[in-house]
Symmetry: C4
């Protein structure tokens, strides 16, 4: 059971499971950003009627949904990327870890963008938010290129053409997030919408696995 | 090991594991809604005796238990639904993701309903709570119907009659939650009780898997 | 792959994995009960020197370690109990869910006992804490007895003598926690120590699996 | 399926999965230490501009990144250590549990060191932080030595020389963390940097599994 091949499969499975855990926790922690608008703190009534307060909090829900969908699509594509990988090594695990570091930051950057979207520094907040996604995109490309370079960790049945297609598709995210950062100078809301559009791109274009 | 069939099984397993993670995490985060009634904030004593304070917080415990049981039954039935599915595709994963988005919101809607159950806007809070379950129920039906339509993703040994029975059973949740929303106009507590009754229905009627 | 037998194995595995998730989250959430004694709230300095403040918080650490060890031993024994079970059914899953409900409450009851251990109502807090463990113990026995009755879900190679030994061992927890509740009338600290002693009993006496 | 051998493999897998859950969860909870500098509490504006506030919070990000990398490298090496282990027993699980107890504390010690790094008691905070890593390192060595002693739980294909190399490598962490504690008397920042250096050592020297 523990020959080289099955150990390799187990390593890959454990790396995927660890990543899945981080994605699932980060996506669930987003809910802690939502607050009951009728209470300033537990037991201290703010006098804001519930329905009116929830409507006024629209930007918290918008940011939560955007981030949720973005992390969900990342999970899907992480999964898809690993279906092209034959085995993992320590360098891959470290690169994957750096990617997860920025994934872990998303509940924080989501809170920032939600709290500031209607304030004067909405642009700064959106730049922080898009900037984090830019770092995710860069780590993602670094991870993939490490695997694909000279077909280092690719599975045999992945053709060179398939690998090149993926390499090209993965460039959309870093370029798109630079655009989102630039747009944040003009409008925070537009910037977050660009992030949502990038997620939509990956939701519908991902190759369908191996 | 990595032929089409086993990859399909692995995809299904990973989707189930990711969903399990979100269910388990959401169900555990519910505990963060409970507070020590003797402290306004850490270190700031409120003067309320512990026992009396916990009794006065009964609605937090009631809401927690209701949501816990509802998520537990959903997990059970999610599990059961996937036992009828042969393989997953990207569209199924996205639909499953939308379902999980509303599952992630439940610790928030539970806090809302618990905080407001003894206030004048208990009805609004119960409508928010039941409304979230309505969205869960709608996403659930969308997910199942996508799989069942033309037997798209069903396993071969699932009979058409079984599939139709499930389709019918799954209608109870969206209809029941519309009833819960309507009742919230009259009584917040009654509305939450309807949600609990829907969970009880699924606890005892689910078909027993494949 | 999906014949009755392997489906049974998969159901059991998924139930174990879901339970593991809840145990692991509950055990990790305990850390949110710890607070920096030098700050009343983020950015509001309390003037308490860090070292002195941490020493004064000793009861938080004591409660955390007690609960951590108790949940750890429960996880171990949950694992052990499932090694005697051949398959799971819906009733077992529901009973297991009720057990997990009380496991999820432990970070809350731990916070209660830690906050009150040096106050006048330490006894009430310890009764809440031990009371929750009593409910865990009762659910645990209900779960085991459901499996063992008439050997309903037991594996073939589990002898009747083994099953009876487990049934007897499992009685220590509900009886012990009733003792802990009784002692809480006299001393909160002594009551928590009884809970720790029960955990130690199970750490060293559990049968060694199948 | 359930003969002794495969049960042993399943026990090992479940212990690894439980540990992975705690590692992944602890690493994700770190994000709760980050705060929006523009708000004292939800809805209470502090007047600090976002960008300036985030820059002033640099020590929170530095501490988060250090801890994240340290836990990531621990996860990697935990994984690697288990690839040398043939089976788990109850004593190993208990020792592993003690190790996880200190892992669970890291989000707390990280918050402590971040909050105090620019205050006069930065040294105490860094001592708490490094002290926790010292306990992790001691538990880790206790766990490994239990497995390696007389080759108790080692796999057959692990040579004595390999086991001795690992035993030697694992000594770096307890010794290094004692150094970090000593340095905390002089500089909190330098102490945290030593912890980061220890993590870097393990990132690049771990043997490559079995």
């Amino acid at each position: 059971m523990e020959n080289g091949e099955s150990r390799g499969a187990r390593d890959t499975a454990r790396t995927e499971a660890f990543s899945d855990g981080v994605f699932a926790f980060a996506i669930t922690l987003l809910v802690l950003n939502l607050r009951d608008p009728s209470f300033l703190s537990p037991g201290v009534y703010s006098g804001v009627p519930l329905f009116e307060g929830l409507v006024r909090e629209w930007q918290s829900f918008f940011a939560l949904v955007t981030t949720f969908i973005t992390i969900l699509v990342m999970w899907l594509n992480h999964h898809n990327m690993f279906s092209h990988i034959d085995r993992v090594d320590r360098r891959l695990m470290l690169r994957n870890g750096i990617l997860l570091l920025f994934v872990v930051l998303t509940p924080f950057t989501t809170a920032i963008v939600a709290d500031h979207m209607t304030l004067s520094d909405a642009g700064t907040a959106a730049a922080v938010y898009s900037g984090n996604f830019m770092f995710i995109a860069i780590s993602w490309n670094a991870l993939w290129r490490y695997c694909a370079k000279g077909r280092r960790l690719l599975r045999e049945d992945v053709t060179d053409a398939e690998a090149r297609t993926i390499t090209r598709q993965y460039l959309v995210a870093p370029l798109g997030s630079v655009v989102a950062i630039a747009i944040s100078l003009v409008s925070g809301l537009a910037s977050v919408t660009v992030v949502l559009a990038i997620a939509a791109f990956y939701a519908f274009t991902g190759s369908h696995g191996h």
